[in-house]
Point group: C2
Chain length 106, copies 2
DNA sequence: ACATTAGTGAAGCCTCCACTTCAGTATCAG
DNA sequence: CTGATACTGAAGTGGAGGCTTCACTAATGT
């Protein structure tokens, strides 16, 4: 893996675009082909492809081509770095509560 | 409050910029004035102001001016919608595990 | 009072990036 | 074989947005 901070950069940048978030939301319910993915979106198939490439490069989406159709699905741990960043943004006392919860909970 | 989906849009867009994320990271350790905020960043004071306005408009940062200095701090619940979106991106079975955890844990 | 500090407002520049068009390549169906 | 489907690649366009400069106001310090 490369520089973790620039990886986070890419994730945030990727999710900054509404269309790409729409793709992620769409894939939440299960794998989809590129064409099906493009249907409800108001963009070209080519545009969807470009978005998919970006989402892939930062580990948010996994795609696999079988025959002439490419199947797209969410990468399981893709949002983890984002989640970690958010947790790190809590105030110190909140963090302390978190740690307490981790000790007591799971 | 306005349309919630466009609110989420603004949050994601705001965090899509590295400089704005740097501001958020800087404010994690406590309130800071605009000048102090700008010091380590390689941009003008004016640029920082513009970023702050954006961060404010989507409820991520709270600022208050006393005298000639404006104090900036993180808005406590600001990242909540973002967090919710991430949670909603889990697969159905993962969600079910989450609910189970919620019932057993806290 | 005067200089300095801290922040504002307006206007313009310029780069990046989302999107399109068009042309091309496999794959599948009849 | 023929046509349709599903994607891929290259190249170009337009607009949004991040940044700067310059001019200005208000608070503070000596």
């Amino acid at each position: 893996m490369s520089d973790p901070s620039s990886e986070l950069d890419r994730v945030f940048h990727a999710l900054g675009d509404p269309t790409r978030r729409a793709i992620m939301e769409r894939l939440t319910d299960g794998p989809l082909s590129v064409s099906r993915l493009a249907e409800p979106l108001n963009v070209t198939l080519t545009a969807v492809m470009q978005h998919l490439q970006i989402l892939q490069e930062c580990g948010l989406v996994y795609t696999e081509k079988t025959g002439r159709v490419r199947s797209c699905r969410l990468e399981p741990g893709g949002l983890a770095p984002l989640e970690k960043w958010i947790r790190d943004r809590r105030s110190p006392w909140e963090k302390r509560l978190d740690r307490l919860g981790e000790l007591l909970g799971p």
